[in-house]
């Protein structure tokens, strides 16, 4: 009788704590999602509605025209293309280069390999501010200032060190015996890299590509350092331009923000697991 009573009390207590958890975590999530909901709603309201009732009021209109305005008149279409023209090659080339270097450093007895590894990581940890002026002058000197290749170059050069470090840690954990068996079978370094190590590194590569996509896509600082012409700017810089062009037309600015955020949110939702794994790869090792 008494045991049944205590177990009933325990059950009630557990239910109560579960309800408490959901109330707390739910409220927190709601608070977190509120700004996102606000920008979505604002992007669908008409200018007159916002002007008459204020940004914080309940919406009284619905239009998709803001997106058209940001997309066509605001130049976001071109900016999005620019962003993808920079981001996609950057992700591919950086990861290819980093995988090569990590392979060499982790699978071969190479003189100075630890020093090289840490030198490369150190380069990525430098505050970019120390590089801004020399990089903008260097790209002028190389004749690529104000072109997308300059932005691609600096993104690759600055990013590669971190990916080498992460991939090195991953490749190091692949058993030696696999490689030795391949050597016995007469495989050269290229075959070992391409047929054995790279396929085994796929989880890390997937995680890093999801991560680097958002990092490069979201960059502002490098873009405004090596680019000058408005029509060449990627979407982050164009978004600031949009804000200047449509001062206080929050409906258009909100639509622009939604357009600028959509690709990375899509990548996140599609590759959520990889994405989170990527953040941990570099850190909790």
């Amino acid at each position: 009788m008494t045991t049944r009573q205590t177990s009933a009390a325990a059950l009630r207590r557990r239910r109560l704590s579960t309800a408490g958890f959901h109330a707390g975590a739910g409220a927190l999530s709601l608070l977190w999602l509120l700004p996102i909901a606000l920008v979505l709603v604002t992007s669908l309201r008409s200018f007159d509605d916002i002007a008459a009732h204020g940004l914080g009021s309940w919406p009284r209109s619905f239009t998709l025209g803001n997106f058209r305005q940001a997309w066509v008149d605001g130049g976001q279409q071109r900016a999005l293309v620019n962003s993808l023209l920079v981001t996609v090659p950057c992700v591919l080339v950086t990861l290819a280069l980093a995988a090569m270097a990590a392979f060499g450093l982790s699978r071969y007895e190479m003189p100075l390999r630890r020093t090289l590894l840490l030198l490369m990581l150190g380069g990525n940890l430098l505050p970019p501010q120390i590089l801004l002026i020399p990089v903008s002058k260097l790209s002028e000197l190389m004749g690529v200032y104000d072109t997308l290749p300059a932005l691609i170059g600096v993104q690759i050069g600055f990013g590669v060190g971190f990916y080498v470090f992460v991939l090195h840690g991953f490749m190091r954990s692949i058993p030696v015996e696999i490689q030795q068996a391949a050597v016995v079978d007469g495989a050269g370094p290229w075959q070992i890299f391409w047929r054995i190590i790279l396929p085994l590194t796929r989880p890390a590569l997937a995680a890093l590509s999801a991560l680097s996509f958002t990092w490069i896509f979201n960059d502002l600082l490098w873009a405004i350092t090596v680019l000058r012409t408005d029509t060449k700017m990627p979407i982050t810089a164009a978004l600031i331009g949009l804000q200047g062009q449509y001062v206080s037309m929050w409906n258009v600015i909100a639509a622009g923000s939604v357009i600028a955020a959509a690709p990375t949110v899509a990548v996140f939702l599609r590759f959520q697991r990889h994405f989170v794994a990527g953040l941990n790869l570099g850190a909790v090792k």
């Binding site: 975590a25 999530s29 996102i36 914080g56 071969y108 590894l117 490369m120 260097l138 050069g157 804000q243």
Partner: protein
């Protein structure tokens, strides 16, 4: 407690195998593999190492970007001593480090503790907190700018709850601009720190908590004596990430206030950028960058020492 500490010691990593065995491959490095390492290194040398060296040299010059740089020694650094804007920017950077860094670490840990248990619905809560991490800071900033507007949500909310007297042009007021900028930065960073801590919490051996329970430890005690010590590794990473991120912070301030009004939300990074690319004082800008570098260096060095030990 005795049980606890021995158990804790047991989870420390097993001794590493002798050096040299791990690489396994041939003793002589094939030329192709050498090229594999040298090509990426060259890319980084061109875009990072060489510019960095130039940056240090330029800090000792006066340069308008057109005529040749003129060597002036430490004059730029002497000028900083009397530069009020520099002082504001340095103080704001420290404040940013403490507030943005400290709060994102604390709240990141708190949310991770709240959401660490696998139970129904927790995935949604995690995703909600994590979603802002994928936004660009520019988009984040614009969202919050709409909230901070005179007719924006924040002011209307204050009005609605009867605190209308607190209504404010949050970003246009020197007293509130910096804090108004920190909030969106936090909104975005907390989810990231939470992920790091979630992974760290997952890595803690449940046996440690059992042992603590057997020893009669309460919730607070097992947090204090099991969780916190076990998170030491993650804490070091979070600290490095936070300091480096704080010193790099640029996008969110630049898109919200550009350091204004009257430099009240100026950080060293925004001051460096506007000095170099708007005032075209490239030498002084480089010297400011060197200051940022020196502040970051301590953290980078300790991070590298950690990485050095692990890379072995």
């Amino acid at each position: 407690m005795a049980v606890l500490t021995t158990a804790a010691r047991k989870t420390t990593p097993v001794p590493t195998p002798p050096r040299g065995r791990r690489a396994g491959g041939p003793r002589r490095t094939p030329p192709l593999v050498l090229a594999f390492v040298l090509v990426p290194l060259l890319a980084e040398a061109v875009w990072v190492f060489w510019p960095a060296l130039q940056g240090f040299y330029l800090a000792l010059t006066s340069w308008d970007g057109v005529s040749a740089p003129r060597f002036v020694g430490l004059a730029n650094f002497r000028e900083m001593l009397h530069d009020d804007i520099f002082r504001t920017a340095a103080l704001d950077t420290v404040l940013w480090l403490v507030l943005f860094g400290g709060l994102s670490a604390l709240l990141g840990l708190a949310t991770a503790l709240l959401l660490q248990q696998e139970r129904r619905g927790v995935g949604f809560y995690r995703a909600a907190l994590f979603l802002p991490v994928v936004f660009s800071l520019v988009a984040t900033a614009l969202v919050w700018q709409a909230i901070y507007q005179p007719d924006g949500v924040l002011n209307q909310l204050l009005q609605a709850v009867g605190l209308g007297s607190l209504r404010h042009a949050w970003l246009a007021d020197q007293d509130t601009a910096l804090y108004a900028v920190i909030v969106p930065a936090l909104w975005r960073q907390i989810g990231y720190v939470m992920v790091l801590y979630l992974a760290g919490l997952k890595g803690i051996d449940p046996a440690l908590y059992e042992a603590a329970k057997v020893d009669g430890a309460g919730r607070w005690q097992s947090f204090r004596h099991v969780t916190l010590p076990q998170l030491r590794g993650v804490n070091a990473v979070v600290l490095s990430v936070i300091v480096i991120d704080s010193l790099r912070s640029f996008d969110v301030v630049w898109s919200l206030t550009r350091g204004g009004p009257y430099h009240s939300s100026e950080l060293l990074s925004t001051y460096m950028y506007s000095t170099a690319f708007q005032s075209l004082r490239l030498g002084y800008g480089s010297a400011l960058a060197v200051v940022i570098f020196l502040l970051a260096f301590g953290v980078i060095a300790s991070y590298l020492v950690r990485a050095f030990r692990e890379a072995d």
